[in-house]
């Protein structure tokens, strides 16, 4: 009953004409930002911070969080249509979403992405309202040791993503980790692989690497295909082809529900939990699907699950901030800044001292999600019609927007050159059957993993056993070892090696 009263308080706060308008503006700007390559939600929210000062507290947070949800969805649009992830969590959507688009099912992919995000967002909102504050304390159990183990599990799981052998995927993960170390070391301040090039001190930025590895390499791959000149990518005609059909909807229900739970639970964890949730969801779906062979070639489960997880994770990541004062990622960090500017210190006292704000933000999540669906489902046809542009013209335009997007990140031509370099690298790797998705994911997780690993080792006075002393960390590492060794074990048992070994031992 308390929850209903609290939600009523929240909805009372949000359902004013002004706040509804602000929520709409937030998700609209967020979607636009997500679609544009380069300009991410962190930069946009930072740019809009001065505007939020003129709004009241609840309205300010509704605006900024609306941008966040909108950008999460907007990132998926470019992932599906042109294989450029708008932000890191959309990388997974590129794999099957883009393949669906190539088969003329872009509308279905975009539709299921919007509907899945809405369902996941709504379930996450209910979860947050019911148990969020209680289980937020779980986040406190996550120190550097546990985080390093969780990220190690994440890195092992990446091996199952994408195409090609596990050895090749492991190779790409190692390369991604190596590229993630470029720049000034955050602990010692030492320059690593900088080679006296000043812009290299900041390392490579994620959007630049993503645009190069995915966007530009795809342009080169299209250019290298026969008859690409006037080819138009298959696109759906009419409402029936623009939305998921009955079979696709049926196949998406369970992945969306599973993705919502995975996203909600992992989103609560600080340090990349929301992002990891999208590829944990992908791997779970790939593992248990009856259509395993379709993964990587346009499986709807590969879009529905990660998109739901991604959105549920984004919303759950508000809970550590609102209940504990811990920002789970950079975007939430900027929103925390907005709260501080408004004179509110996020933390355990927030729910007691500012219940209207707390429950208003929770209610705004529901409203924001509803607006995203209302805004984007009618636009699916418009987005899909972009595919009617001949492939040759589309390729050149992708290059133009990638170049300006890369430049606009830091107003640096170095970023443009870096993106082109990664584009050529990505194309070369793909030509030799190395999948670039594990590379990018490891590149994103690498710096977080290194920081947690080193902090963990410092906590343990240099003794790696510290990672086995914590039950949470030990469980993650055990799971990682299981995932790593299971295929070998299964292969050995199938080939009879294990049986003959055991028989030999018995004798």
């Amino acid at each position: 009953m308390d929850i209903l009263n609290n939600l009523a308080l929240g909805f009372g706060e949000v359902l004013t004409p002004l706040n509804l308008l602000i929520a709409f503006i937030g998700v609209f700007v967020g979607t636009a930002v997500g679609v544009l390559p380069g300009l991410g939600p962190t930069a946009t929210i930072s740019l809009l911070l001065p505007i939020s000062i003129h709004l009241d507290r609840t309205s300010a947070i509704i605006l900024l969080s609306g941008i966040y949800y909108g950008a999460m969805y907007g990132g998926s649009i470019t992932s599906i249509l042109i294989k450029i992830p708008g932000e890191a969590a959309s990388v997974i959507t590129c794999i099957d979403g883009y393949q669906m688009a190539r088969k003329g099912r872009a509308g279905a992919a975009l539709g299921i992405s919007a509907i899945g995000s809405f369902v996941a967002g709504t379930l996450a909102t209910i979860g947050i309202a019911c148990v969020g504050p209680e289980i937020a304390s779980v986040a406190l159990a996550f120190g550097p040791v546990e985080r390093a183990a969780m990220l190690a599990l994440g890195l092992v799981l990446i091996m199952g993503i994408g195409e090609g052998s596990r050895v090749r995927a492991a190779s790409m993960i190692a390369l991604g980790l190596l590229l993630g170390t470029v720049g000034i070391d955050a602990v010692s301040g030492e320059e690593r692989f900088v080679f006296d090039v000043p812009p290299m001190r900041d390392g490579f930025s994620i959007p630049v690497v993503a645009m190069g590895l995915f966007g530009l390499s795809e342009v080169l791959a299209m250019a290298g295909q026969a008859e690409a000149k006037a080819k138009i990518m298959a696109y759906g005609h009419g409402l029936r082809n623009l939305l998921p059909n009955r079979e696709e909807t049926h196949r998406s229900v369970a992945p969306v529900l599973r993705g919502s739970v995975i996203g909600f639970l992992l989103g609560l964890l600080p340090g990349g939990g929301a992002m990891i949730s999208s590829f944990v969801s992908y791997l779970v779906e790939k593992k248990i699907s009856r259509h395993k062979e379709e993964f990587g070639h346009g499986a709807i489960e590969g879009v529905a699950g990660p998109e739901a997880a991604n959105n549920a994770g984004a919303q759950a990541s508000f809970i550590p901030l609102l209940c504990l004062g811990i920002p789970a990622n950079a975007v939430i960090g900027v929103i925390m800044g907005a709260l501080l500017i408004q004179g509110i210190t996020p933390g355990p006292r927030l729910i007691v001292e500012h219940p209207a704000l707390f429950w208003g933000v929770i209610a705004s999540m529901f409203v924001g999600n509803l607006m995203l669906v209302v805004l984007n489902i009618p636009l699916v046809g418009l987005f899909v019609s972009l595919l009617r542009v001949p492939q040759g013209i589309m390729s050149v335009l992708i290059v133009v927007f990638c170049v300006i997007g890369a430049y606009s990140l830091n107003n640096s031509l170095f970023d443009v050159g870096t993106m082109i370099g990664f584009g050529l690298l990505g194309y070369g790797l793909r030509r030799w059957a190395f999948d670039v998705a594990p590379l990018l994911l490891a590149f994103v997780l690498g710096p977080m993993f290194e920081q947690s690993l080193r902090q963990g080792l410092i906590i343990g006075y240099g003794d790696p056993v510290v990672f086995l002393k914590s039950p949470i960390s030990a469980a993650f590492l055990g799971l990682a070892a299981l995932v790593l060794l299971m295929p070998q074990f299964v292969r050995a048992s199938r080939s009879g090696v294990l049986r003959s070994l055991l028989a030999g031992k018995a004798r």
């Binding site: 052998s165 000149k229 170049v403």
Partner: protein, 148 residues
């Protein structure tokens, strides 16, 4: 297999450089620990990949032959490659928007063999749209030419 070999060589070079950063200092992990671990992993896995037979890529699997066998496709790919490499210096000399406009025009004409009208229209439209969106709306200070 060139890619795996290049990766292995990259790993060896990175390993040598990273070793100088120090693996362990003052009882705690040094700046070189992670790069060394990553480079060692890259070396081992790329050597293992060297032993593998290269699987067919998607395009090859569907078309039955390597994707870039066709001469016009090869020429187009070469055009894109050269265009991308020339683009950064062209931006410095001409400025961002003129260079991109020229890039669209030349690539559509030379690599995509589009008609002049189509190429000119695409170049003009993309330049105008970029100016409107990034310069006017988002106030991104796009670089100008060294000459004007």
């Amino acid at each position: 297999m060139p890619a795996a070999l290049i990766l292995a060589v990259t790993a060896v070079v990175a390993l040598v450089i990273a070793h100088d950063y120090g693996l362990w200092s003052f009882g705690s992990p040094g700046a070189g620990l992670m790069p060394c671990l990553a480079a060692a992993g890259l070396l081992v896995t790329s050597l293992l990949a060297l032993r593998e037979r290269r699987p067919a890529t998607d395009a090859e699997a569907t078309e039955g032959a390597p994707a870039t066998e066709e001469p016009t496709a090869k020429a187009r790919l070469f055009g894109y490659g050269v265009g991308l490499l020339v683009l950064p210096p062209a931006i410095v000399v001409l400025g961002m928007l003129p260079a991109l406009g020229l890039f669209v025009l030349v690539l559509l004409r030379a690599a995509e063999r589009a008609r002049w009208r189509t190429a000119i229209m695409a170049a003009a439209a993309s330049t105008a749209l970029s100016w409107l969106l990034f310069v006017r709306l988002l106030h991104v200070p796009l670089p100008g030419s060294v000459f004007w």
